[in-house]
Symmetry: C2
Subunit: 597 residues, 2 copies
């Protein structure tokens, strides 16, 4: 059953037909309305608020968190949580120009593959039609190249029957007789700490499944430098570190294949993002030169390899495609981010920050794109923090001081077991806000604290520390220590200084920036206000922050599904100038300055 | 030192500068003069006769065979044997339009490869130039693709030094440090009976070496049908028959590599012609369906495979390229022939006959090309003939009856050991001419012979036979038997009938034909007059015969050296209509008719 919605914006009305059950946000985005939906339509950010008239659905539980009674009465709802069940008037009051970004994140990605599956009928030859069988297949599938394994298959094909041809451009890469089965692709994001594999249906572009896991190379070192050192200092180190990741990826593929009832032969393409060192190690290519000046990798270009060359277990005629990187320290993950936000099409001045083990920063104007990598360290990924942990069940992910009391939320509402990046950032901000911490980062002495504050000040293993939890089992108590604060200062200082250097290089001020995209798993969960409050990001940009989630992964998906992404990435990279912070004299000065809150 | 030659033709004079020692025929062909040189400039056919004025070289021994005293005095010489040593006037009297053919056979072939070798300087990176090493190589060599093995090589390249890049289009297929070494290609002609491998320098297009040998598959059967039967009737027959040829080709490559002091890694391309069955067996692809109606092969298209897929021992990033075929019984060897004579550019009506184990026939007009395959049998290759042999030392290759006596010539002037194809054809023609044989093919009875003839009539193993040799050792005597004559009748009848069918199909008469190209090893050595005299070829075409030698091999070389050959072959094949003689009712009638002399 179809419904009519009438969208009111700027005194204009547009009528849109839609189907019962359609998601309102998706309908609006599809029709080129600009809706803020920073969280990706997950009902988490509450930004996609719109006003409805007509037979409005009752608000659901999540909406109640973001809308007060007055708003509810007036007909406000969250469009991302609203499924259309009647004719409606939709009143838009927002004004923004982030269409491009939201589109690339939320709407279905353009499907424009150089892979295609065609079902064709293979007619049997007779004396009136002596065409050879390859020709019959070529003609029907509009191809003219074939490899040996598929040529050999033709012998045993049942004639006068239907077959299925998978082609890449004009080349047959598979001939199948299981006509009803699909064909699939993988988008892979290899982070220093975590790896995500997305399984996509290449016929529809739909994301079918995701599998994420720790990078197994972490046993060789937490950061890229220590892993490179491992390859230098150990016999066959490079081979071993390569095998570790390849084996784990293949296990991930096994899992996805099993979970989705497909065969690994049905996977024909894998696009990979990751920082430059991760991509070198994935291929078993020496990354030594990235670790020492002049920090030059063997490759940054797009690399196209066969599954055999990479030892990745997908169809042997498939393709493993590494997205191009920018430099030794600004990798293909950042190319992915830039594709995700469609950086070349954005007007104004845009800042992109991908916070992982390193903090890569990109500043773009219409003419130029600058990039740098700030050695933020893995603080926000839970490493080097006393009670640090990744974003797992029980990690404190949100933290607030309210009415002289601590409030926090753990992932999956489990008993607290540690602090993950977003929680850590909240803690620093809140404790600084309530003067537990000086702007230098020092935890104040007891005398300077008010009475309600005093109980929070403790010692932990000889260090000043702030008590977070109030558990009965004191042994499981969680603290934020002075050293933890220093770690965060190092991390946020590096990022803030990196931003400053890029701004100076282009002669802009922070107030000139129109949008700040924050990418990376951590970046998606932080409270942007707090990131600005501790001056990791200039405070004036508070209302311009857009959290894009795993932009690198989104970029990999775009690359997987759209053959034009290659050219787009090339165009972007051509414009990018890499600024080497390690030899930048101003950077050290700025770094020290920016460590304060 | 340079000399000036003045070429006179049709009242026009052209001056050409050339170097001392230049071959006159090559100079003339290079300057687009049309010179008959059917033997390919070998001094064998005597057709490239020209008249010279000036300080003329003395005639050499070969020229004396073709020129009488009067001609010598007038200044006639064979241009193919004439090396320029002074200024000359050259008077051309010939008129013909076979430029295209001679050009493709004799002049250097157009070198237009998609492979290229570039020596580039690999600069070491520094902090002012942090470009990665792959990018340095891509930029300097104008490439943007690389495979894994070469990517991996970059690690260990000495920086600030020169390297050599072999590229195929925009892809790097090899990186080398032996800058002065060349790069090479192979053109291979796989006949049912013999195989030829040509080694060519891809930098200059020059043919460096040739290696020929019997097709080792002959142990599985002399003709294509018996080989296909072997693959059906023996366990792993297809695998074995494939391995036999691949191993032998690899040994041939070993030989060429050693003989020319190169490495097999320096060979980057191999182009292969052969009949359709030979190409299937080379790849281990089932040819069963070619043997039985409707005679449909698995493939006739151009096939591009990696050396690994074919198990051929050339550089692993190289290419093994099979030329496209026309049908199950008109193979890529005939495509090669058609490329060699540039059939699409010829005006008028042209007949092409490739006589090997089968006789493939092509008839072309401007609009259409017809082809068929006449099951001539291997008589002309020495098989099924009592004293038959291939063209080896001691084979009788020419035969003549003069002054009531037999004269013959053996290859390399050795003691006669047997009869090869050209000798066989001569014998039939001469014995028929002198009425030893009736037009029905029957050896006449003794009574009908003149006295001088009678001693030649003998019996051999219960059959009527004609004595060829007069050796002291009677055991080594050579005979032409009645059965041998029948074999030749079958062979020549099939070819003559095939020609007739194609002519009828296009509504032409034999007198309409402008040129007859004879290809194939055997075809190059036969006496065309005799071929016409026994009516294998219509007698009216006697003066229109052009022997092109191994046209199939020439086609393979063209394909190897010129990337445009692919399109040319496609254009040709698109025009070719294949006529299946086995289901042609008229063919059987014609066949029986044409068996008579």
């Amino acid at each position: 059953m179809s419904h009519l919605i009438r969208v009111h914006q700027d005194n204009k009305i547009k009528e849109i037909e839609c189907n019962k059950g359609d998601n309102l946000l998706k309908v609006l985005l599809k029709n080129n309305y600009e809706i803020n939906a920073y969280c990706g339509g997950e009902g988490i950010c509450g930004k996609c608020k719109i006003k409805l008239k007509g037979e409005i659905n009752k608000p659901n539980k999540s909406e109640l968190e973001f809308l007060d009674d007055k708003e509810l009465k007036e007909g406000f709802r969250l469009s991302c949580l609203y499924n259309i069940k009647s004719n409606l008037d939709v009143i838009l009051t927002q004004k923004d120009d982030i269409t491009v970004m939201t589109k690339s994140i939320i709407t279905e990605m353009d499907l424009n593959l150089d892979l295609k599956k065609e079902n064709i009928y293979l007619k049997k030859a007779d004396l009136r039609d002596q065409r050879d069988y390859l020709q019959r297949i070529y003609n029907k599938s509009d191809t003219d190249q074939i490899d040996y394994s598929n040529l050999k298959k033709i012998e045993n094909l049942k004639k006068d029957s239907e077959i299925s041809v998978i082609k890449k451009k004009n080349k047959i890469i598979d001939i199948r007789t299981d006509l009803d089965k699909g064909y699939y692709g993988l988008a892979v994001d290899i982070g220093t700490t975590t790896i995500v594999i997305y399984l996509l249906d290449l016929e529809t572009g739909q994301e079918l499944d995701t599998y994420s896991f720790y990078n197994p190379q972490k046993k060789f070192g937490a950061d890229v430098i220590s892993r490179i050192n491992y390859t230098i200092n150990n016999k066959d180190g490079l081979k071993k570190i390569k095998k570790t990741i390849v084996d784990k990826l293949n296990k991930g593929i096994d899992h996805l294949v099993e979970n989705n009832n497909i065969k690994y032969q049905d996977i024909y393409k894998m696009s990979v993002v990751g920082n430059t060192v991760m991509l070198h190690l994935l291929l078993g290519i020496d990354a030594l030169n990235i670790a020492k000046a002049p920090y030059v990798p063997i490759f940054t270009e797009e690399i196209n390899l066969s599954p055999k060359e990479t030892e990745i277990k997908i169809n042997k005629n498939g393709l493993v495609q590494l997205l191009p990187s920018i430099s030794g320290y600004v990798g293909a993950d950042i190319t992915g981010d830039m594709l995700a936000v469609n950086i070349n099409k954005l007007n104004g001045i845009n800042l992109l920050i991908d916070i992982g083990t390193n903090g890569e920063i990109v500043l773009s104007s219409n003419k130029k794109i600058l990039s740098c990598s700030a050695a933020a360290g893995p603080a926000f990924e839970g490493a080097n923090i006393t009670f640090g942990t990744a974003g797992i069940s029980g990690a404190i992910s949100k933290f607030l001081i309210k009415d002289n009391k601590i409030q926090f939320k753990t992932i999956n509402d489990k008993e607290p077991i540690g602090i993950c990046g977003s929680g850590l950032l909240d803690m620093i901000a809140e404790f600084y806000k309530y003067n537990f911490i000086e702007s230098s980062g020092r935890i104040v002495s007891k005398e300077k604290l008010k009475d309600w504050q005093k109980p929070f000040l403790k010692e932990y293993k000889g260090q000043k520390a702030l008590k977070i939890t109030n558990l009965k089992n004191y042994d499981k108590q969680i603290f934020l220590t002075q050293k933890d604060i220093r770690e965060v200062q190092l991390a946020k200082g590096a990022i803030a200084a990196g931003i400053e250097i890029l701004l100076k290089e282009l002669n802009y001020k922070d107030t000139d920036i129109n949008r700040v995209f924050i990418a990376g798993g951590f970046g998606n969960y932080i409270n942007p206000d707090n990131a600005c409050f501790i001056k990791m990001i200039p405070n004036c940009l508070k209302d311009k922050i857009i959290q894009i989630g795993n932009g690198a992964g989104t970029g990999a998906k775009i690359y997987l599904l759209n053959k034009n992404a290659k050219r787009e990435a090339e165009n972007i990279i051509k414009k990018v100038k890499y600024i080497e912070l390690s030899i930048n004299k101003e950077f050290q000065t700025e770094y020290i300055k920016k460590m304060s809150f």
